[in-house]
Symmetry: C2
Subunit: 316 residues, 2 copies
């Protein structure tokens, strides 16, 4: 396995560390709430996040229209969030939507984009997936574009395998910057690291459970749902992964993660934020997601209190 120190990437704009796929706040009428989003992003950047990946799975991005996604990204930038800290999700089922959102993010100076494959059709060929990414890269046509491939087969059902990554890296060595591996399969992460990390392909894992192993294998961090509520502790693990504290820090973040994963994760994170921010409105989700039942929520919050989760300054 390639040690981290031999990675050749020297692009100073490349992000590493903990990125949060930022939760999207909704008003009671289900409209997105840009002001709450900006406030949460500021808090995250001040409390452990090296960067932010708005419009990920945790963000209910697929439940937002392209117009809403563009408007929210603009609101973040107008709210003072530095574009160099942003890797917005831009992958949609429809090529024109993906091209539009990707071009917008690049024009605004975002550090990169996190791109799902088109996910409606199942069992599609690598030829078709290659063409999907190639069309986006060619149509955006901007040297600043940095694409992080978003591999999340448990949700998208359409995955991105090593042969496809190889082909994309050969065709677009500058544009293809890395992957978010949300397979939950450490063997897949190790394969990506072994095959591609030495060529400047930055691997983020999709859960902090795999952060230590990812760093040991030459990865660069994690983009994790629980980054919304526990980024400081995960960031400490990221910074101390090569110290004797690492295993203990990994166990600690795993304990928080385990409590959250007992229930549906996105509603859980919104309930935690609602509680710690003293803002019940944070609990609102767009369908098809629904809030936790009150008993689930109370048990979750009790678990997390026992584990010592704190979110200082939130909602303050």
């Amino acid at each position: 396995m390639t040690p981290a120190t031999t990675r050749p990437t020297a692009d100073p704009r490349r992000l590493s560390g903990v990125l949060a796929p930022v939760l999207t706040p909704f008003r009671a009428d289900l409209a997105p709430d840009p002001a709450r989003l900006v406030a949460h992003c500021r808090w995250l950047l001040a409390h452990g996040c090296a960067g932010l990946a708005p419009f990920g799975t945790t963000s209910e991005a697929s439940s937002l229209s392209a117009d809403e996604r563009e408007a929210l990204l603009d609101a973040l930038l107008e709210g003072g969030i530095p574009p160099g800290r942003l890797v917005p999700g831009t992958g949609c089922c429809a090529l024109p939507d993906t091209v539009r959102l990707t071009a917008h993010a690049v024009r605004r100076g975002c550090a990169g984009v996190l791109v799902l494959p088109p996910f409606y059709y199942k069992g599609v060929s690598d030829d078709g997936l290659f063409r999907a990414f190639a069309e986006v890269i060619e149509r955006v046509g901007d040297d600043r574009l940095r694409v992080y491939l978003y591999h999340i087969p448990p949700v998208a059902q359409v995955g991105l395998g090593a042969a496809l990554v190889e082909r994309l890296l050969r065709a677009y060595p500058r544009a293809i910057a890395g992957m978010k591996d949300s397979s939950g399969d450490l063997a897949n992460t190790k394969r990506m690291l072994d095959l591609f990390a030495a060529r400047g392909f930055d691997v983020f894992v999709g859960s902090e459970r795999f952060l230590l192993e990812n760093m040991r294998g030459g990865g660069v961090g994690c983009i994790t749902a629980t980054g919304n509520v526990n980024a400081a502790a995960i960031d400490r693990l990221f910074r101390e992964w090569d110290t004797t504290s690492a295993e203990r820090l990994q166990d600690e973040v795993n304990a928080i993660r385990g409590a959250v994963e007992k229930v549906p994760v996105i509603p859980a994170l919104k309930a935690i934020l609602a509680h710690h921010a003293g803002d019940p409105g944070w609990g609102t989700l767009r369908p098809p997601l629904v809030p936790l039942a009150p008993a689930q929520r109370d048990a979750l919050l009790a678990d997390l209190a026992r584990l010592g989760l704190e979110m200082p300054g939130l909602g303050g």
Copy 2:
């Protein structure tokens, strides 16, 4: 099983028979081609289709932006396709997109809309799916709305079960008009017919393979991919389902379907259309779909020639 004759629905606007989920033609630059689409729709209505379901799975609808879908529907209407023959697909992952496309179709007088559930998140609850459909119906807020639920678990992975249909029918007995059952599971179709057909819930099967059984159980027709190329024969089966010719007609349409299903169906149908219309441009697909390999295409066309498939007047 409820015989067809006892169905209480007397709404003269309800469609029955063969509906084609219309293939979407693309130009070489992958832009949709409204003129070709209108021409194909006219041909379909003159050759066996009782109605058209543009923007279905076969239409690569999820590969189109909401703007493109609206513009294409407008082009169909401006091209003289009667709105009363149209049941456009309007279900997207994002609530605002589904509301927008549904409201647009209703305003334009379409006979109904075919609505996928939001399909990104998997394993969602019936509560969440109920809320997704309820929000669309309430936000569109138009008595003319007729929703056909689109159940296609092999692709969407998110299905619509009997408990959900029951709940929707109780809450919105006027708006919920029926289902396209593309499960490929005749037992599911029979369950929907037994539970709901007598209450005016119109069941279309998603493949003509099940058309005879659907009609015998009280269904109203099929919305089938191969309606794009073989609607006249499928329509004859629909009209003669209760005659002694029915089994033979079912076997005949099954033979054509079997030839098409040997290869990926959407590229196959586009290849057939390209061939019979003498218009190679019909073969273009948006990624992630890709054309058939030449050998696949040639074998398909040879099979269909042997089976006697004709498309008179196409491209003429």
